[in-house]
Symmetry: C2
């Protein structure tokens, strides 16, 4: 593995593949000299797009994969059968060590299954969580898990908390990140059975800064840096964030267009508002890493365009350079040694 | 019971009691001739506030209750011991038939416990859900359950769906309300164990218009009228709605104040925006009914002011006049007869 971070990008996944994937890859290598990209997918289609750009040819390599896994396909079957799909070929590049990370806007299910079966879990990790960054009033928080493992057990949530803390500290650069568990009240005795069982386990941990429960109301204020949640509630949080943000913004736009007076006002506030809303735009923060694997796998939105793809690729550099994989491994093994 | 709807109002519950409670009560009887209010709490305090208004003295009665249940008190104990609290006395007015409904901005826990033990469940109802209306792009949707029963079973969710459908049809006036279950994907095979077990049961029901799964992203668009959820996820949805809405609006205001140009624009868009944001203001829609009881119990926000209290009281009129209690009872008994 060279010092440069190698990212395998699924050129065929997502609503805007391959055009926006290729554009995002070119953009990323122009932004940073510390990254190279393997564009994985149908080579003629990829070369067709690549022809539009000038770029450092040493840092983009096309890797042919003739099949595509569709979003609707049952993931386990798809990963097993489509051996020449962009997801399977891309993940194998990580497995073999040729690439450090795999980024895809394709089928979530296939990415989750492939991550576990092809890239493989770090020894000791029970379930790899999907952990996107969500925008808050103070910056960003890590929401872990947002959909990889429904019906999780307390021991899974404990691992999520520790991995999330490592990620926020070393990838995002938050010192002693505040770790909280999503709950329906602030008191320790509140919550469902899972939260009640998990809470005391988190309280015992000495390697994270556990601050207790967080109610969903306080998440957008940025009250915690790492938001630990079972995948069902986590997914609800992530999706509602997206939906409610979009509806509110569109309502506000409609409101501004409702009279001549407000239309003139809208022209004047537009530049300032654009800046504000950009802070709440999920695509600014790249994709969601699937943590706890022997290599990095990043899932972006299905609707990701070049900007999100490029940001996701750049994110992989820090992940490698900060040796997150090694840090998670050490952390999990420490747990086993202490016999918890 | 007279034809007029009698509402017992907890004059001591909530952040702004008793002033805003009394103001809300006076406002409600001025808005509708079909309602009378029992103001339950410390009579000197209530009379002190009442003295500020002129109102129809036949339709406001003060009922003395010397104790107050605090939000932090363990609910079961509080209901058992504080027999002369405004919550216990108010609920007993419903139990005895003197009042049709009880409205409180006080301790959620005490209201849930008191509703079940003092007012009592309708025979056949397993768990009474708390069901607030939430604003959407199309109007409002009923979120059922938002926090009364964590770790619910499929049979509970089936009852929530049926009660919610009755409420939306007869109180809110939506014909054949669309009922959906909160899920993390649109397909039937997606979800956690609870959703997977509940889905086929909902599909079998002939008395509701079940439309399948709804992802949290689509809730704000108003894709379903009745949103069925286990209480933990439901509470997360409700609280995130409030928190994210508030943070976005405050960010937008900050953005508008960031330059002279945008400040001038803000003045021009303000009236139009105010109207828009009002549609997304939860206090416009009154409190959340606790359904499935032998009488109506309504929980408002702890921060409720006169407007929300008044709206909550008015809401009780429709509930009584549309005989929601009787309709739920018939529906649940039909279920038992069909041997489901």
């Amino acid at each position: 593995m060279s010092e440069i971070t190698g990212v395998a990008l699924d050129a065929m996944g997502g609503d805007y593949a391959p055009a926006e994937m290729v554009k995002g890859a070119v953009d990323a290598i122009n932004r940073s000299k510390r990254v190279k990209v393997f564009l994985v997918g149908r080579e003629e289609a990829i070369h067709g797009e690549l022809g539009k750009y000038t770029y450092d040819k040493d840092r983009i390599r096309v890797v042919n994969a003739t099949e595509v896994i569709e979003t609707a396909e049952p993931p386990v079957n798809a990963i097993r059968r489509k051996k020449d799909s962009s997801i399977v070929v891309g993940m194998k590049l990580v497995k073999s060590g040729e690439a450090d990370a795999f980024v895809s806007a394709g089928s979530s299910g296939a990415i989750l299954v492939g991550g576990q079966t092809l890239v493989g879990r770090i020894k000791g990790i029970e379930r790899p969580p999907l952990a996107p960054l969500i925008p808050t009033a103070k910056g960003v928080s890590l929401l872990i898990d947002c959909g990889a493992n429904v019906d999780a057990r307390p021991s899974h949530l404990v691992q999520f908390a520790r991995m999330g803390s490592i990620y926020m500290e070393h990838v995002i650069g938050v010192r002693k990140p505040k770790v909280a568990i999503v709950n329906i009240g602030a008191e320790e005795e509140k919550g469902n059975a899972l939260v009640k069982e998990t809470f005391p386990l988190l309280k015992e941990l000495t390697d994270i800064n556990f601050t207790g429960s967080i109610e969903a109301r306080d998440i957008p204020y940025g009250e915690a840096d790492v938001i630990v949640s079972e995948a069902f509630a986590g997914n609800v949080i992530l999706k509602l964030y997206e939906g409610l943000g979009a509806v509110l913004v569109s309502k506000i736009k409609d409101g501004m267009m409702s009279s001549l007076r407000s239309k003139i006002g809208a022209l004047l506030v537009k530049p300032a508002l654009k800046e504000t809303l950009k802070q709440f735009d999920a695509t600014e923060y790249g994709g969601a890493p699937l943590l706890g694997l022997k290599g990095l796998v990043v899932k972006t939105h299905g609707s990701a365009k070049a900007k999100e793809i490029s940001n996701s690729i750049i994110q992989c550099i820090t992940f490698k350079e900060q040796q997150i994989y090694e840090k998670i491994m050490t952390c999990i093994q420490t747990e086993s040694v202490s016999g918890e």
